[in-house]
Symmetry: C2
Subunit: 207 residues, 2 copies
């Protein structure tokens, strides 16, 4: 009835269609970029009817949004290295690898491009980063507990500071940052946090 297609009978063919379409969309995104992402192409490559793609995803932004949700779902498990510099370095390299990966990097650029055009996409993007940050915040908080960082440090700000320069480079130059840049970003965030740059006035952001 009013339930969206794909939610009442999610098994069997429906699931196969979803997998094939997302896979094809990812391929096209990695090969030709966001600009030439045509739903008819996706349908053809996925071996699926054009109608189906339009019915279930509606538009390019919808498809990209679903793709992002899928990416966020199988998040890479991260192991703590024991020291905060090591953890931040691991996070920076994760972001760097992600940006350098053809599929994930292209997807990231596509999502950022589509976000201003579509509310759902914007929400998905926000959620994606929130989850990311929340995942790595504990590392920073442990650093505070261990006395590596001053009390009152805004852990989320530290995590965001690691990824920010890497994402900026990807988005502005169109080229993925080098591993060296990732290590530099991690070092910088750590040094700034140690110096208390994120422990100043209480942030109003969040809650």
């Amino acid at each position: 009835m009013s339930a969206r297609p794909g939610t009442v009978r999610p098994g069997g063919r429906t699931a196969r269609v979803r997998t094939a379409v997302l896979r094809a969309a990812g391929d096209i995104l990695a090969e030709h970029g966001f600009a030439h992402l045509d739903l008819a192409d996706v349908a053809r490559r996925a071996g699926v009817g054009k109608t189906t793609v339009y019915r279930r995803w509606g538009s390019v932004t919808g498809l990209v949004t679903d793709l992002l949700a899928e990416l966020a779902h199988d998040a890479a498990p991260h192991r703590e290295t024991g020291s905060l510099p090591g953890d931040l370095r691991a996070y920076a390299l994760l972001v760097q690898r992600e940006a350098a990966d053809a599929r994930q990097g292209a997807l990231l650029r596509a999502v950022v491009a589509a976000a201003p055009c579509d509310g759902r996409t914007a929400a998905a993007l926000r959620r994606f980063f929130e989850v990311r940050v929340e995942e790595w915040v504990p590392c920073v908080e442990q650093g505070v507990a261990r006395g590596e960082l001053p009390a009152g440090t805004d852990a989320a700000a530290v995590v965001r500071a690691v990824s920010a320069p890497l994402h900026q480079e990807l988005l502005t130059t169109g080229v993925a940052p080098a591993p060296h840049a990732a290590e530099c970003a991690a070092r910088a965030a750590y040094a700034a946090a140690v110096a208390g740059a994120y422990a100043g006035a209480a942030p109003v952001t969040g809650r």
Copy 2:
């Protein structure tokens, strides 16, 4: 001839048309965002023929690109405050104000969105940031000369580190960062630079 329209007779009406179109495009961008930027709307609001807009700018991305070039052209003059923390703070607040401004913020988001779809736009975006960075690099270099920062500091990296978290916030949340965030970014970049995070690849161990 093969010269593009608007280049042979740039005066009088041609200039008026250009001004009106860019103004209208900026208005629509600020009001309705990048998604609903229709060239026919722009033409109507500018009191100009639809044909003219298509002939001179060709597409939405072309128009956005020209708009960006215009913005980069009248760059805000920056005065040096005498101290590096002060300069970085001034730069951070400039970026923050820009992001918070309805027209400029919307334009920035639109350009980033359009960049993956169009080579010229991507180049314009890259150029825009390059100019920005070059403008503020001297402040950092003076800081190095004064001995505030370690020798071998990558001045451009420091400048980029200031703007990165602010732009990331604008692009991922869709909301412009607060002035507080700008000051935090400036503090962090300064602290990291002082600690030598942007100087060479070797980790900071006194030495």
